[in-house]
Amino acid sequence: MAVDRWQGFKAAVWLGWQIDSNWTDIFLFSLYTVIKPVFGMLTFVFMYFAATAGGPIDPEKLAYILVGSSLFNYAANAIWNSFFAVHDDKEHYYTIRYLNIAPTDFTLYYLGRITPSVLFSSTVSLIINLAIGIVFLGLKVEPTLQTMMYLLISIPTVALGFIGYALMVVGVSFFTTRYLFSLVDGLTGISFLLGGVLYPPSVLPPAIKWLSQIVPWYYWIEMLRSPIVGGGSGLTPGFVLIGAVFSAVFLGLGVWFFGWSINKAKKDGTLDMVMSW
């Protein structure tokens, strides 16, 4: 019934919030939420300052790095929190078997469980990073009708793609604990290297440059960065279309793989298997 599904989602959101935040008071939690991503971004910004010390500042390169690193951090955090929710339920709190017999939907439960971290922790830190960039680092954000329209299209498109991506990673975590962290680190590392996060793919050697074209993060990050900095390939319809195709494919694959994973894990008896990694 629809009402029960909604109640399950709401309970999962509440639970996610409690697990994220109730280990301390709200002040320390807020500080923690802000400090980590801000310093992550500042490391890249100071790499820029170190490399160009004494030389003129190139605002385009600085904006590219600042916004790219902040967006990457946002996405990587969301992916990490997604699979860690299953890891927590399975390995730390041993609650996954009770979720299995509860009258709730697994997909909705995990979407609810990660909503607080994505909406609060990651979004707030992204906004703060951009604000620091604007106030202290000379980042220029000058929205126009065109960039706003692209941003309005890109945000839901990219979000759906990342939800699909996260569901695939979460699906894997029903089978394995030992290799999960390496898998997530590997996928994130490849996306960081090839996804045009801190530099355009043209910087890469010719032998691997073409790989960027098949890494979805490249499209998703550029689709969000271009409207913010006011330039870039993310402001062309063809590029956005490719990004949207990636999103549709990943969302479809993610929803399918997540359901398939749960069924397979139940059949194989690995759903609630504690592996004590």
Binding site: W23, I35, G40, A51, Y179, S182, G189
Partner: protein, 269 residues
Amino acid sequence: MTSKLDLIVKPALSRAYVRVIMGNRVPAEVVIDAFLPVLSLAAYVYTYYFLGASPQYVGFVVLGGAMLAFWSNVLWSVGSQLYWEKEDGNLEAFFMSPASKMSLLTGMAFGGVVNTALRVIVTIAVGILVFGVHFDPSQIPEALSVFALAVIDLYALGMALSSAYLLEGREAWHISNLLTEPVSFISGLYYPIQFFPFWLQALASLVPMTLGLDIMRRMFFGSPTILSEPIEVGVLAVMAPVLIVLAKLALDYMERFSKREGRLTLKWQ
């Protein structure tokens, strides 16, 4: 009859043995763990290419990547280890046994150094073979001594941090998580910190890898140091014994305190 020395040496060796075997028993995992950091390392190198930085910055990234491997190991496999032991139910056994807790931590640190060293070799090899970083061979013995000193200091710092986990659960976990980015930033893992204000340089110098990297950057790439080299080496040499004594005091205090609070073996805090 078990001598006092046995209670110090054997637990350390046993704990190191467990760590080394556990970290290397699956060859595929060793390979994956060794090559995963190379992805980030390469991204940092290409960032410097993008920025048109001088070639020595690629060397900075390789040195920083090597040190980061040890720092991550210190945070997650020494500093936080008592948290995992608590969650897995081993902590009770550790505290019931007559073994020295400091020797258990030393064993964890030693095993961690061995495991991480294997991975760091890959990082440096990729730096040399793929990115063409040149390390002056005449500087290698001295640089290795400084590197070893900094690593010993880092592990001593990890042992000092570990006592926090006797009392705290998720809070200490979050603090470990929190320490990663700010420490990477202020310690100048990928850039020299000469352009930081003095107070920030002084703060950064409390993290052993800051001074270790500063000296090695001077040795290999002629980068200026924030203090004179003998002073930096002296500070690194003093840090290890100070941190080890601090670790012992903190461990004893936190053990008593957490027992009194009834939280020594309390899971899922």
